[in-house]
Each structure stands twice: as structure tokens, then as C-alpha cells.
């Protein structure tokens, strides 16, 4: 699938933002006043920035407001609604801690729950697609939750929890890569099932329907950069999981530690999210002999 920068940034940043807000909803770290303001500002900037970035990839953004209407069937619509709902509930909790030094634990916990549901709805946009076998697995929502909670824990300064969550994340990410590789690019679909010509024999594309490019090929038959996939996987794993966990284990938990750890994690996250799109393949490629 075409790894559009806007969608990579959207899923990565909004996931981190909602992850941080989920921790803040639980009162972790227990901050008030200006310090709380800073934490919430980062959380909202990431979550809202990510959502705005997703609007950038729309071809006809003037109808974006209508995306809140189809929650009965559409995960993308549910995501929009849950994002607004969770940001609103968490805002009440934020106002309490920033301006009144008072925590509303029930509201905070509700906000945490809603933030995690928002991340789940994001993951389901991809998970639901049978046409993209690499995404169509329960591991996708699990990974999205771990990336959000693990990265959020780093941002919230919850280094102990972060180390555990990142370790689990690393294992699940490797499992997802292995599972995806084992399933193959197009899963159980083949050029024979796509054309129904398997009953005659082995089938191949003799002539493409058009000599030039088209939307489908650009959007769904992305192959550029796959040759670096293994290197990128190593970079993603090292930066997002191994190095942060090692730094947390070696050094005392301070602000000075937070900065390099978060920067490393972000690099790893972006590499992993780039791979999430670039390595995923759509079954439509079968009709193009790819």
C-alpha cells in the first residue's frame, strides 16, 4: 500500500497522543498546574495534529464533516466520533487538574477508556480490510494499543510501565512481521482465484489493460523501498524497543533520560509505521500480474 506521509504521521502521532492522554486520565504522572498544562498540551497537540494530518490526505476535504455520520457501519466514522468524544471528556479532567488542582478520577478513567477505544477504532480501519491480508489479523489492533500505551508511557514519564509495555510490543511486532511474511502478499488469494481460470490451469497476465499507470497501481501495488525492509525492521526494533528499554534499565529516571528515549522511540515508530503501509499488499495486484 502507498505509504502516504500524512497517513503515517496521523496514525503514529495520534496514537502517541491518545496513549499519553490515557496515562494522564489515570492521574499518571500526578501533576497539577503548569506542569499538567504542559503534559496535556503535548497530548492534545499530538492527537489533534495527527487528526488534522489525516484530513490532509482527503481528495475532497469539504465533505469531511460528513464523516461523523456513518458510525453504524464504518470504523473510520467511529474513529472520528470517538476521537472527539475522548478529547472532550479528557478536557474536563484536564481543566480540573490544571486550574483547580483537583482530579476527577471517574472522569479521568472514562477519558482513559475512550482514548484507548479511539486507538482501537483507528486500528480497525486497517484490520477490517480482507483485501489487505497483512492487516487483516487480530495482531493489528493489539499492536496499535501497545504502540499507543508504550509510547504514551514514555511521554508520561512512566518508565517502569513503559519498559514492560515496550518489551511486549517488541515481541508482538516480531510475531506480526513473521505472520505477515508467512501468509504471503496476497494471502489465500491467487491469480487463479481472482480470475476463476484456475480450472483451466496455471494462469498469468498476458497483457495489462493499460500501458500507463493508474490510481490502483499507484495506491495499492506499491513496491518501492521494500528492498530495505529488513534493515528498517531492525532500525524500528532497535530504536523503538531495545535502546529505550536498555537506557531505562541503566540510567535513573530523569527528564534528561526522557528526551533521548522519546526521540529514539519516535524514530522507531515512524520506521515501523512506514513498513506497516509499505509492506502491506492489496489483492488487486493479482489482476495486474504482480
Amino acid at each position: 500500500m502507498h505509504p502516504a506521509p500524512s497517513v503515517i504521521l496521523f496514525t503514529a502521532l495520534s496514537g502517541l497522543g491518545f496513549g499519553l492522554l490515557a496515562w494522564l486520565g489515570l492521574g499518571l504522572p500526578p501533576v497539577t498546574g503548569w506542569v499538567a498544562f504542559t503534559f496535556y498540551f503535548i497530548g492534545y497537540a499530538l492527537a489533534v495534529g495527527g487528526l488534522l494530518s489525516s484530513v490532509l490526505h482527503l481528495a475532497n476535504p469539504k465533505n469531511a464533516i460528513k464523516a461523523f455520520s456513518q458510525w453504524r457501519s464504518s470504523w473510520l466514522s467511529r474513529e472520528g466520533i470517538m476521537a472527539i468524544l475522548s478529547l472532550s471528556v479528557i478536557a474536563i479532567h484536564a481543566i480540573g487538574t490544571i486550574f483547580f488542582a483537583t482530579r476527577l478520577p471517574a472522569i479521568g478513567a472514562l477519558g482513559t477508556g475512550l482514548a484507548l477505544v479511539t486507538v482501537f477504532t483507528t486500528s480497525m480501519i486497517y484490520t477490517q480490510l480482507k483485501s489487505v491480508p497483512r492487516w487483516n489479523t487480530p495482531l493489528t489492533p493489539i499492536l496499535f494499543q501497545l504502540w499507543a500505551l508504550g509510547g504514551g508511557a514514555l511521554l508520561a514519564g512512566q518508565f517502569g510501565a513503559a519498559a514492560i509495555l515496550l518489551a511486549i510490543l517488541g515481541i508482538m511486532q516480531v510475531l506480526a512481521w513473521m505472520q505477515g511474511d508467512a501468509r504471503g502478499a496476497t494471502g489465500e488469494s491467487t491469480i487463479e482465484t481472482a480470475t476463476g481460470l484456475g480450472r483451466i490451469g496455471k494462469t498469468r497476465l498476458l497483457e495489462s489493460p493499460h500501458t500507463g499507470q493508474n490510481y490502483l497501481l499507484k495506491e495499492m501495488a506499491f513496491t518501492v523501498g521494500r528492498k530495505h525492509a529488513l534493515k528498517l525492521r531492525v532500525i524500528a526494533l532497535l530504536c523503538a524497543v531495545v535502546l529505550p528499554v536498555a537506557l531505562i534499565a541503566i540510567f535513573p529516571a530523569t527528564h534528561a533520560l526522557a528526551l533521548p528515549v522519546i526521540a529514539l522511540h519516535l524514530v522507531g515508530l515512524l520506521a515501523a509505521r512506514w513498513l506497516f503501509f509499505a509492506e502491506a499488499s492489496h489483492v488487486v495486484r493479482l489482476y495486474y500480474g504482480k
Partner: protein
């Protein structure tokens, strides 16, 4: 509303005969012509006279080669457009309500006034039946020529999809799959019509009639290159050997 109807009164669609299609692309051209000037925004082209022309099409003809265990391979021209699936994943993923399946006839349509061009429906479709128009920014797909089939301002014989009307080989048949006595239902029963990628669970309405098995495969074989010469050629062969 992007929830799918539990059932539709009619199931209008196409039966495409892979035995008959000659791969002339007339359906591709007539589809583009009709649909660029009727329902919704035009089907735009980019760099149309340049080095890398590309554009939006609702119907494309692929050509495949199938190789049986023994004998010659078979060439199959394969027109592909929206299959108007009963369980259309492109409809349910739509966040704005632009994508819908009609209860009365099962046609899957895009209401362009609601489409925000997110492209998720094109991702959801396993068949590549939807293309996002790069100029108008809205999703385009086969409408089954809804503005022809119900159009009382055109002669009755023209009230079929443009691709069906233009096919010189009679490889495309339009009808109601919900009616077991319709032309298309009979064809599917007779010829063992199939679904594309049944494993995707989309329950396509459109059916493909597979190529009939070659009834005289021996005659399709290439001439033997080294056969024993007879008559004059045999004499010539001998004479040349003797030199």
C-alpha cells in the same frame, strides 16, 4: 446510509462470457464515453497527450493466459468492472454515507455530493473496481449505467449498460439475477457461472461464464516440425541427401 440492505428486490448485474470476449476494448471506450458525460463528474485524464497518460476508467479489459496440464495454452480476455456485490465491503467502510447499495435493484453507487475522497472504499474493494478521480477528488465506479437502463428518453434497445450495448461479440449480458428465469440467471445455470475471489466473501452479483473446454484440442496443436515427407518432397529429400 452505508449499512447494506438485508436483501434487494432485484439484483441487476452483468454476466460476462469469457469464451466470447475478443478483447477489443470497445466496452472500455463506450463506458468512458457515456460515463464521462453523464452521471457525476467527468472521468478525467491526466497528461492525455503527454509521455505518461493516465486517467479514470470504470471498466478495463485484462488479458490472461491459462496453461492446462497438456496441450496449448488458452488466451482469455477479461473485462473487469464493479461486481455490485451483495456483501459490498466498499459500502460499509464509507464514513460519509456517500457509498450505498440500492434496495430496489442492488446497484452500488457513490453519491458524489457526500464523498470526501478518503479512498478507503477503493482499499476495501478486492477487485479494483473503484478509482479516485484525480481532478474532481471523488470516487468513481460503475453505475451499471443507471442513467441508461431506466432512461425513457432513449430508444428501448439502448436501455442497457453502454458496455453491453457496444459489445460486438455479445460477450456481456445484462439482467436481473434475483429472477431465476431471467436471461442472465439461465446463462449462469447453463454455463456454470462463477464468482471472482469467492474467498473474500463479497458475494458478487456479476458472474463470469468460464471459457468452455476446448472440444477438439488435438486440432489446436501446432504442426509437427519434423514429419516424414511424402511424394515429391520425399524424392527431393532423398536427392539432396545423396549429394
Amino acid at each position: 446510509m452505508t449499512t447494506l440492505p438485508t436483501s434487494t428486490e432485484k439484483k441487476l448485474g452483468l454476466a460476462i462470457d469469457l469464451d466470447t470476449c475478443v478483447g477489443c476494448h470497445a466496452c472500455v471506450v463506450s463506458c468512458k464515453e457515456w460515463n464521462t458525460s453523464n452521471y457525476g463528474t467527468p472521468l478525467s485524464d491526466e497528461d492525455a497527450y503527454g509521455a505518461e497518460p493516465h486517467g479514470t476508467f470504470l471498466n478495463r479489459v485484462h488479458s490472461f493466459e491459462a496453461q492446462p496440464e497438456t496441450g496449448c495454452s488458452q488466451t482469455i480476455h477479461f473485462p473487469k468492472s464493479c461486481l455490485h456485490c451483495d456483501d459490498a465491503p466498499c459500502v460499509t467502510v464509507c464514513p460519509t454515507g456517500a457509498s450505498y447499495k440500492r434496495t430496489e435493484d442492488g446497484i452500488v453507487l457513490v453519491n458524489e455530493d457526500d464523498c470526501m475522497g478518503c479512498g478507503l472504499c477503493a482499499w476495501a474493494c478486492p477487485y479494483g473496481a473503484r478509482e479516485l478521480d484525480q481532478l474532481s477528488g471523488v470516487m468513481k465506479k460503475c453505475t451499471l449505467c443507471i442513467d441508461r437502463i431506466y432512461n425513457e428518453n432513449i430508444p428501448e434497445e439502448d436501455r442497457v449498460p453502454a458496455c453491453v450495448r457496444s459489445c460486438p461479440a455479445g460477450a456481456r449480458h445484462f439482467g436481473d439475477f434475483a429472477d431465476p428465469d431471467s436471461n442472465v440467471s439461465k446463462l449462469v445455470a447453463e454455463r456454470g457461472g462463477i464468482d471472482l475471489m469467492p474467498e473474500m466473501g463479497t458475494k458478487p452479483v456479476n458472474k463470469y461464464l468460464p471459457p468452455r473446454p476446448k472440444d477438439r484440442p488435438s486440432e489446436a496443436r501446432l504442426e509437427e516440425t519434423h514429419s516424414e515427407p511424402k511424394g515429391f518432397l520425399a524424392w527431393l529429400d532423398k536427392a539432396l541427401e545423396a549429394i
